[in-house]
């Protein structure tokens, strides 16, 4: 599903070059549920953004479903994000002026068009059937993240990426969100990658990849 070969990423900040990723090579198979762990500044979010086609590597190659994507144009990358990748973020990133339903529909807008029935179904799946017309401000953090999950998964992407999905949630909501992710993964066998620094979250996953200072330092099956 995902194959990374000697991926490096260098940021130019002023006159200094900051090397965030120093040659990452890893493979994630179809249907795996993987945790990406590391301290802040280790490069794990940068790696996730590269895998999510939000960014391009400085060097190295990235094969997504056996297709080299690291050299694609930005509009082609946008197409891949629209069709193949579902994102959720630590800060939920819902549009505050839209209802839960409209937020989920937004997930389909760039992937062929909104479908209200599918959006309602997706919200029901994360346990928010009663909350479709609520705005994010009227929802708890856990509920907001569940809306975000529905938005990411409503278009049935083959790849699901989560950046610290429980980072802003209390442990109870965090566990709730994780169990939803795990059960959805079990149901649809979507290849999933979850970035976290919390070992309790990583334990939900089948495989844990540790990153430190831009390099993979350890890999083990959970």
């Amino acid at each position: 599903m995902i194959r990374l070969q000697d991926i490096t990423k260098v940021y130019h900040i002023g006159k200094r070059d900051l090397t965030v990723l120093k040659g990452i090579t890893l493979t994630i198979k179809q249907g795996e549920l993987v945790a990406l762990m590391g301290a802040s500044g280790s490069g794990k979010t940068t790696l996730l953004n590269l895998i999510g086609c939000l960014d391009k590597p400085t060097s190295g190659s990235y094969y997504l479903e056996d297709k080299e994507v690291s050299s694609l144009k930005s509009s082609e990358l946008a197409g891949i994000r629209a069709q193949k990748i579902g994102f959720i973020f630590q800060t939920f990133n819902l549009l505050s002026r839209l209802t839960a339903l409209a937020n989920v529909e937004l997930g389909m807008t760039y992937a062929g068009g909104a479908d209200r029935r599918l959006a309602i179904e997706a919200l029901a799946k994360v346990g928010l059937a009663e909350r479709v017309n609520h705005r994010p401000i009227e929802l708890s953090g856990g509920e907001q993240q569940r809306v975000a999950i529905a938005r990411a998964l409503v278009k049935n992407p083959p790849l699901f990426l989560a950046d610290e999905p429980t980072g802003q949630l209390d442990s109870h909501s965090g566990q709730e969100v994780m169990s939803i992710l795990v059960s959805l993964h079990a149901e649809k066998a979507i290849t999933s990658l979850i970035v976290t620094h919390d070992i309790n979250i990583a334990r939900y996953c089948q495989r844990i990849i540790h990153i430190k200072d831009g390099e993979v330092v350890a890999e083990k099956d959970a």
Partner: protein, 411 residues
């Protein structure tokens, strides 16, 4: 279709979320378009009312005035200052130039007019009986100067409606006597008012040309011809106006014994030419008014750009989210561009309604005639959309170029 609905929903969301801001953005365009519509309608209205007044005189009218005189030392007087036109010229024209329906030589002089205690300094015009046909005049009361009065050089006068009002008020003037210079005239008729035209017939006193010539000195040229101050004539076939004008010029130059390289000592003007010249002047004025209004439209456009730039900044995070969800650069670009165009288009429509309303209100007060022409409406609306697209271009481009990762991180 679904895609367009989605696009419209997105744009509507952007507009509706910030109602006050959207309204203020529109306001600049509303005022600009309303100003364009109202001012252009005033300009067009003035144009059409002046043209219709000229048409009222008859566009087949040709007037001949004396040329400029060159006095001692080469000082040139204005047109009409010399005494080069004569009654005999008029007779020659009427005999030799085809397509004439009526010809009216006249001689004007300013005279002191006294009735009882009323005293008026008025332009008195000596005319021939055909004068009424040429200038399309009618008498409201009494009769016009007849062939008999003319031949006999009788002391009779026909008054313009304003003159009658000044001298006699609401009294019946027919048969009354008025004093002009040292002569006593009998009023035989009053002209129907024609309203304001380029040379109003409401303010004149008409007397037989023969009578006036006897009263005023220096009306005989060295060749023994009778000086007139203007010759007006109507052409029976309007198509032939230019031909008739040329024929008159040739004839008069011949009669006045001008060498081929000399300037004509008279001037032939058809009303068509005057109308054309006036039309051009009015067009220029209308354009000028429109240009002033267009400046406010431009300022409105800059306002749109300003607001759109702010809007893009404020919605950076939204743009990041949309990009993460798979929006391409052209999707974001289109969203903001259409939003700007939508704002200015709506502003344009509202502006048209308000401008039209203002124009109707002005018309209603009767101070001025206004004409809202469809071409201006279409122009104003399309220009306002164009302004949205033009001034929305850069902000939209800015939005589309945002880096999704940085955009997502912004507050």
């Amino acid at each position: 279709m679904k895609k367009w609905l989605g696009m419209f929903a997105t744009v509507w969301l952007g507009v509706a979320t910030h109602k006050l801001r959207s309204f203020l953005t529109m306001l600049g365009i509303v005022i600009g378009v309303a100003a364009v519509i109202a001012l252009m309608s005033i300009g067009r209205g003035a144009e059409s009312s002046i043209l219709s007044r000229i048409q009222g005189l008859g566009s087949n009218l040709i007037t001949i005035s004396p040329g400029s005189s060159t006095g001692a030392g080469g000082v040139r007087g204005g047109f009409g200052s010399s005494q080069t036109l004569t009654l005999e010229d008029a007779e020659a024209i009427s005999q030799e130039v085809p397509y004439l329906s009526a010809i009216a030589p006249s001689y004007s002089s300013s005279l002191q007019v006294i009735v009882n205690s009323n005293n008026l300094n008025s332009r008195v015009t000596g005319v021939t009986p055909e004068y009424v046909q040429v200038y399309n005049l009618q008498t409201a009361e009494g009769d016009f100067i007849s062939e008999y009065y003319y031949q006999q050089a009788m002391k009779v006068a026909v008054l313009g409606s304003n003159v009658k009002q000044t001298l006699f008020g609401d009294d019946d003037p027919i048969g009354q006597q008025i004093r002009m210079g040292s002569n006593i005239f009998t009023v035989i008729g009053v002209l129907q008012s024609k309203g304001v035209t380029i040379s109003s017939s409401d303010d004149i006193i008409l007397v037989p040309l023969t009578t006036l010539q006897q009263m005023v000195a220096r009306t005989i040229t060295s060749k023994g011809e009778h000086v007139v101050s203007s010759i007006a004539l109507t052409v029976s076939d309007q198509q032939q106006t230019t031909y008739v004008g040329d024929a008159i010029t040739t004839l008069l130059r011949d009669r006045h014994q001008l060498t081929p390289d000399a300037d004509s000592d008279f001037r032939v003007i058809s009303l068509e030419e005057i109308a054309g010249a006036l039309n051009q002047t009015m067009n220029t004025m209308t354009l000028l008014l429109g240009a002033i209004a267009a400046i406010s439209l431009l300022v409105g456009g800059i306002g749109v750009m300003n607001i759109m730039l702010v809007s893009v900044l404020e919605r950076t995070r939204e743009i990041g989210i949309r990009k993460a969800l798979g929006a391409r650069e052209q999707d974001i670009w289109g969203q903001f561009l259409i939003e700007a165009a939508f704002l200015t288009f709506s502003g344009g429509i509202i502006g048209v309604i308000i401008g039209w309303g203002i124009s109707l209100a002005i018309n209603y007060t009767g101070v001025m005639t206004t004409v809202v022409s469809p071409d201006i409406v279409i122009l104003a609306v399309s220009v306002s959309v164009g302004i949205g697209l033009f001034f929305g271009f850069y902000p939209a481009w800015n939005a589309s170029r945002l880096d999704p990762i940085q955009a997502l991180r912004s507050e």
